[in-house]
């Protein structure tokens, strides 16, 4: 998707609450060609309506079963996360496409995001 986004004259940026060292891991693992930003405490995500606090039930599963400790990964050491989402923002700063799902196992097709971007660039 990154190549198509660039070919349309747009930027692509990913945002997560993680410390820089984990952003670098993400980039290396997926061979990303775009910037990944640290949104400490999910404050920018909150501005997009995405921030939530991990429930005790899920926190327990993450810690006990997956040995997943957000205190180590998140820049602010807290158990908040962004609901996964994608936005296309035009040059006036207006949202032209917004997609979010509380179910992190569901993702839109990259082609859908590119199609939304094409409509903005047209």
């Amino acid at each position: 998707m990154a190549a198509e986004v660039r070919a349309l004259g747009a930027s692509l940026v990913a945002v997560s609450p993680q410390r820089a060292e984990f952003l670098r891991q993400t980039i290396a693992r997926h061979k990303l060609s775009f910037d990944v930003l640290t949104d400490s405490g999910n404050e920018v995500a909150a501005g997009f309506g995405l921030k939530f606090t991990v429930s005790d039930g899920v926190k327990k599963v993450y810690q006990d079963v997956f040995k997943l400790d957000l205190e180590k990964f998140n820049a602010d050491g807290l158990w908040t996360l962004p609901m996964p989402a994608r936005f296309v923002i035009d040059r006036k700063g207006i949202v032209r496409y917004a997609e979010a799902d509380p179910d992190y196992t569901r993702r839109p097709e990259p082609a859908d995001t590119v199609a939304a971007l094409r409509a903005v660039v047209r």
Binding site: L8, S11, L23, R24, G47, G49, V88, R91, R96, P102
Partner: protein, 82 residues
């Protein structure tokens, strides 16, 4: 195969190795998040996105205003490398 088909296949495979109470707890988390009404609060088409300035993986500051001067912005939020 679409992205969602691949994700569903991955979910079925990795979920198969997990105890049902783990899968149930994760599903409950998703259901609670949905029930909280968070989707209604997501910034909508037509709304103005707030400007932001955040550090990237190398510590350099990236400003949305600078990116938008050059063209539209595709912004994706994800939970983490895990």
């Amino acid at each position: 195969m679409s992205l969602q088909e691949r994700l569903d296949a991955h979910k079925a495979k990795s979920g198969a190795g997990r105890p049902p109470e783990v899968r149930a707890a994760l599903q409950r988390g998703t259901d609670e998040l949905r029930a909280s009404g968070i989707l209604e609060r997501v910034l909508k088409v037509g709304a103005r996105a707030h400007e932001f300035a955040l550090p990237n993986q190398d510590g350099a500051t990236v400003r949305s205003a600078a990116l938008l001067e050059r063209g539209p912005l595709v912004l994706t939020f994800y939970r983490g490398h895990w």
